[in-house]
């Protein structure tokens, strides 16, 4: 450039004006933020204030502040009540099954997809397996009922044709409740879950693979020594996140698969809150149940993160 650089013009924003002036000058920005802020205060923070009714006997005509305090009464009722053991066990079993089957599935599929060299094949499979993520739980539940129904369900019939014996009513029997929930979760979420791991896999340095090939490492050893360490940070983050949601069994999925016949295995915290709160109107007790679950969830996420850090991983925060 031929011309001498002119002295820089003072930027519009500097020197920093006093806050009051800056607020006035950006009045429009504050107006714009108001509706959103109102949303958060009304629909996110007001309910948090509403959590106080977990420690009260809430009566609608007395309101939040007028209802009498009862301390930990509702929590004691939950912990000593007849429903607690069943709900806790059901929730924990579903959580365990999720950890065992639903959590690893996307990792396996992502690794397998990553091994595919044929990009059309890879992208077609991806396009197909992402679809169910966008379908509602209502659709998934309805599909399950249609496909597994004892009368005309094609899957039920196919199993019957192979196994023989008496036809099984899969959607009504207690014994089949958990397998069906796991199958639904696998069908709906595995494909979508691969995205995180595929992103991590794409980030692995390809030079490492070349170097390993030069050293004579086969695909299995490349996987073991390069791919797996490459996705480990993503894996740890997902494990910590999943553990925080262990007790979130997903209200819609469970509720839609709950029938009068499978209550003993289907009732979990989320659906129990709905039943005792909305159906029976026990607002305070149901709020206490929800709060109990939420607190355990937060503890789990801190606990797992602490554990991950102790094991030398980076963790979530």
């Amino acid at each position: 450039m031929a011309t001498e650089l002119a002295p820089r013009q003072a930027p519009v924003e500097s020197p920093p004006a006093p806050p009051a002036r800056r607020i006035w000058r950006h009045g429009w920005l504050y107006l714009m933020v108001l509706p959103g802020l109102a949303y958060f205060l009304i629909f996110r923070y007001w309910p948090m204030y509403g959590l106080t009714i977990a420690f009260k006997d809430y009566l609608p005509f007395l309101g939040y502040s007028g209802s009498p305090w009862v301390g930990l009464k509702h929590f004691e009722e939950l912990l000593t009540g007849p429903d607690f053991a069943r709900i806790m066990v059901n929730t924990l079993i579903l959580a365990l099954l999720t950890l065992l089957f639903v959590f690893p599935a996307p990792i396996v599929v992502a690794v397998l997809l990553n091994e595919v060299r044929h990009s059309v094949l890879k992208r077609s499979v991806q396009s197909l397996i992402y679809i169910p993520h966008f379908l509602s739980w209502t659709i998934v539940a309805s599909l399950t009922y249609v496909l597994f129904s004892v009368d005309y369900g094609v899957i039920a019939q196919a199993i019957h044709a192979v196994v023989g014996g008496r036809p099984v009513d899969y959607v009504a029997q207690e014994a089949w409740f958990r397998p069906i929930i796991v199958l639904q979760s696998l069908w709906k979420q595995t494909g979508w879950g691969t995205i995180v791991y595929l992103a991590a896999l794409a980030g692995v340095d390809t030079q490492l693979y070349e170097a390993a090939r030069v050293d004579g490492a086969g695909r299995w050893r490349q996987f073991w020594h390069i791919t797996l360490p490459g996705i480990r940070p993503a894996l740890v983050v997902m494990a910590v996140l999943t553990s925080g949601q262990l007790l979130d069994t997903g209200f819609e999925q469970i509720w839609l698969m709950t029938t009068s016949l499978n209550r003993s295995v289907a009732d979990v915290f989320d659906t129990y809150v709905y039943q005792v709160g909305i159906t029976q109107g026990g607002y305070s007790y149901a709020t206490a149940v929800g709060l109990f679950k939420a607190v355990i969830g937060v503890l789990l996420i801190f606990g797992t993160n602490w554990l991950a850090k102790r094991l030398g991983e980076r963790g979530l925060y």
Binding site: M48, S127, I139, V154, T259, I278
Partner: protein, 287 residues
């Protein structure tokens, strides 16, 4: 490459194609079944093409007021709701992207905290009730009006826009509002498209909100109707009013409502995929 490696490639391809097939076959079967006669659904096993292509099921359900009302309601709530939610998200995200605004950090922390903790089902229900929104369509839109994740992603996107463009407009005398409407929004079309789709899918698919907040069966959305027609103890002939001179296609109705509730999502799916594949949703949350 060794022979073992070749064998692995083939097996892998077969496995993955099988996975893709398991994913879509149920949907294709239900689609085929919705165009088959009652007797065909009952007599034939798995099929992907009806022997005799009939539209009696669709004729039936489109002939009932219950179904048409649910469909129109859902379309209207989804359209209006998406508009409101996207507008709220954009207008809140833009000021939050300006680090020089006093109070911005506080507002941002207020948003982030809701990612970790929420009041839960019952307290939220009570707020909706106290606001007099029970049995109102607003209850399907307002309680979920802003998804904090989306808000933060949009905010991060705004932050990444070149400041020079906005500066140039300001030197020309444009105020904050003009900059937002004339410069920022036109640059954000892909992001707006993406989150419109995500919000729309969420409203369309929502079952919990209508279950919690709508007790009047005349106000049911499509998802509620699908549920009422396919539940194992469903009395589907009574959910849809019976039509004079038609036999009630009990199985076919289940197939057809599933198809109708799914097809709009599948129509938008290519657009959804185009955007999320670019990683719009991943990795952009951290500042």
């Amino acid at each position: 490459m060794g022979r073992g490696s070749k064998v692995f490639d083939v097996l892998n391809a077969v496995f993955l194609l099988g996975l893709g097939a398991i994913t879509v076959l149920p949907l294709l079967y239900v689609l085929a079944g919705s165009f088959a006669s009652e007797s065909e659904i009952e007599s034939r096993h798995f099929f992907l093409w009806p022997e005799k292509f009939v539209t009696t099921t669709y004729d039936y359900i489109f002939g009932t007021d219950t179904f048409l009302r649910a469909l129109l309601t859902t379309v209207a709530v989804t359209a209006v709701g998406t508009l409101i939610q996207v507008a709220l998200t954009l207008t809140m995200a833009y000021p939050l992207s300006k680090s020089y605004l006093p109070g911005r950090t506080l507002a941002l922390n207020l948003v982030i905290f809701t990612l970790v903790f929420s009041g839960g089902m019952i307290p939220t229900y009570l707020v909706v009730r106290d606001l007099g929104l029970l049995d109102s369509y607003w209850a399907l839109v307002l309680p979920l009006a802003i998804n904090p994740f989306y808000l933060i992603i949009v905010k991060t996107f705004f932050q990444a826009l070149p400041e020079a463009l906005e500066e140039a407009a300001r030197i020309d005398g444009a105020g904050d509002l003009t900059v937002f409407l004339r410069i920022v929004l036109p640059l954000s079309k892909p992001v707006i498209a993406t989150f419109s789709l995500f919000y729309a899918v969420a409203i369309w698919n929502d079952y919990t909100s209508p279950l919690l907040y709508l007790s009047d069966s005349h106000k049911w959305t499509l998802q509620m109707l699908v549920r009422q027609l396919t539940a194992p103890d469903a009395d589907s002939a009574n959910v849809l009013e019976s039509l004079q001179g038609y036999a009630f296609p009990e199985q076919g109705v289940k197939f057809a409502v599933i198809v109708i509730a799914t097809v709009p999502i599948l129509l938008f799916y290519p657009f959804l995929q185009k955007h999320f594949a670019k990683g719009v949703l991943i990795g952009s949350v951290k500042e």
